[in-house]
């Protein structure tokens, strides 16, 4: 793990113009994959949109887990907060412009990030994991109780977003929603790329490696992590808002432990500590799950389980991490 991070952390400083090209290539690859997805599965855009919504959640977990070393099984709290914030804004306050709803979702997610960050960052390791579980359950219960606003377990329905820019209505085939989702993910990717490369991002990586040394340097560990939590919350909130806009219903499942755990599994599957890993993990897990559950709706869980075991056995650094290691070894500059 440390070996990869060291190389990727050291490189941009040495060859400055290189990272810009690399990021542009990365962005181009994402857009190209999105376009291929559109043309290959024109009838499955709803699934692709859902994958992108969850991808934002997984990216946001990567920010705190992969870059800062915070273990969390409660990140859906931020995702759900964003979804409910934009859903409630649409249903109860008449804010139905999709762009505004996304902004509201980001704010909701960021606020939830402050709250849960303040709690979760008080512990380390196992304690942290348990705090995050407690937080997501509290969020879930609060939403269940506030059924006047959230619709409780029946879900918050009746969200009908306006056409984007007044031109592109959300249709049955989900083309608009998909385009919207791709745009959001691409923007999020660029922004996160900049953030993780910034001095602030480096500081976070430093904290992950050795918090004591960072503190000795005079930086505030808690403050930095909390900032990252807020950013992460905003990203997750955008994902939640996207979910609320594209499905027009928000359910309690968007605040659930299950979603948190599943998203963490996707991240580890793809490989922590790199944005590509998060994206690859989400796409491969959800696509695989959809594929096997359609093939055998009754007994697909076993096959998903086997996949996870196989990944640990044969690609212990996650799909992306292990592929990268392999590539580096092939090139001969792995060390």
């Amino acid at each position: 793990m440390a070996a990869i991070e060291n190389t990727s952390a050291a490189k941009p400083a040495a060859t400055r113009p290189n990272w810009l090209v690399r990021d542009l290539v990365g962005l181009a690859v994402i857009l190209a994959v999105a376009a291929i997805g559109y043309f290959l599965f024109p009838n499955n855009l709803a699934l692709l949109t859902r994958i992108l919504g969850v991808a934002l959640l997984v990216l946001s977990i990567d920010l705190v887990t992969g870059f800062c070393g915070v273990a969390t099984l409660g990140h859906a709290a931020l995702f759900g907060a964003g979804a409910y914030a934009s859903g409630i804004a649409a249903v109860h306050f008449g804010i139905t412009d999709p762009l505004l709803m996304v902004v509201v979702g980001a704010i909701g997610g960021a606020l939830a990030g402050i709250v849960s960050g303040a709690v979760i960052l008080r512990g380390h390791g196992l304690a942290q994991l348990v705090l995050s579980i407690a937080v997501v359950h509290l969020f879930h219960e609060a939403a269940n109780k506030a059924s006047a606003y959230t619709g409780g377990s029946d879900g918050l329905s009746g969200i009908s977003p306006d056409p984007i820019f007044g031109m592109f209505a959300f249709d049955l085939w989900g083309r608009t929603a998909y385009g919207f989702a791709v745009a959001l993910v691409a923007i999020a990717f660029v922004v996160l790329r900049l953030i993780t490369r910034s001095p602030f991002g480096m500081l976070c990586r430093g904290i992950k490696e050795d918090p004591i040394r960072i503190r000795a340097m005079g930086a505030s560990v808690q403050g930095t992590l909390l900032k990252m939590y807020v950013i992460s919350g905003a990203v997750a909130g955008v994902g939640g808002a996207l979910n609320a806009i594209s499905t027009q219903v928000v359910g309690l499942d968007s605040l659930s432990f299950t979603l948190s755990a599943e998203a963490l599994v996707m991240l580890v599957l793809g490989g922590t500590g790199s944005l590509y890993g998060a994206l690859i993990g989400t796409v491969s897990f959800m696509w695989f799950e959809d594929f096997v559950s359609a093939a055998n709706p009754f007994h697909w869980l076993t096959i998903v389980g086997a996949l996870l075991i196989a990944v640990v056995l044969f690609a212990p650094r996650g799909l992306y991490g292990s592929a990268q290691t392999l590539l580096d070894r092939f090139r001969g500059d792995g060390k």
Partner: protein, 390 residues
Amino acid sequence: MKKSVLAALAVLALSSAAFADTIKVGVVGPFSGPFAIQGKNFKAGIDAYMALNGSKVGDNDIEIVYRDLPAADPAQSKALAQELVVKEGVQYLAGFYFTPDAMAVTPLLEQANVPLVVMNAATSAIVTKSPLVVRTSFTTWQTSAPMAKVAKERGVKKVITVVSDYGPGIDSENAFKTTFTAEGGEVVDSVRMPLSTNDFSPIMQRVKDSGADAVFAFLPSGPTTLGFVKAYNENGLAKAGVQFLAPGDLTQESDLPALGQAAEGLLTTFHYAVSHDSAENKKFVEAAHKAIGNPAELSFPSVGAYDGMHVIYKMIEATGGKQDAQKAVDAVKGLAWESPRGPVSIDPETRHMTQNIYLREVAKAADGTYYNKEIATFEKQGDPGLAAAK
């Protein structure tokens, strides 16, 4: 790239031309996960109907496409429905165990020109979300309200309600409270407990302390009902003569072997008991047992699915296999038939089932197994929940 667009369009065009002889019905339900047994019952009901009535309507072959939705997850529900409509080209959507999942699909129906036949989800409001929704199951209001009348008739004066703290539980509490108070009874306390409760002893202590003559309970069918019923017995409430009243979710047939003796004598009101005595039901149960494999697993969602298929077959007959959702739904408004659960009809106003609700008691059969024995009938009950919501 252009070529592939053309190809995709061509596939679309071809598949819509192919509708003439195979009509696809998309069924979404919990086929894995914690509610797998209910999904299994959906499939058993559908298989039983097709075994008894053939897999053809007129010249059209009927094909069922199953999609798994293990827990309430509206986003996934919508994605699955969209995929079924757009990719699989289904003309009918059916199934749906949980309310939010059904709710998520309703905005699609008009544009997709597809009717939705709800085979379980039991919140009253679903039918109001789209004119293309028909429901063949029940609502929690419908099955809970008659229990209040039973309580009154049996001389119960003070009741404590104990429900799981989520949509259907609250529906059930309101239904019972409203009806029981209207009948002149008194609800002395209302307890809502978290869905994740495992140990019900403290709740039973509350029941004891309230001094009520009876406890009205609602929990989702499944593992927690076992703990609840056992706690009722073990904490001496049964001995103290506190009656146990509940809608039939608590004593669904697939849970009875586990509940066993603990459940004997419990009173429930519900729309269907596997033991229902009629020729129609005998035929159904025989076919459904064959379909589900293990007879002990057969439970109420199967009959919702069976009748749902009946409605869909009627819709296909009425439209001659052409895709016309409004015409299909109009054709079954007011439709009346003899279901395995008894005489039923689709209310033309609400598109929900009007049906008999039965009072049942858990009894021991000659072979030592337990079953729900129907002891009284409330005829032709509509859904009081919609009126109450207004």
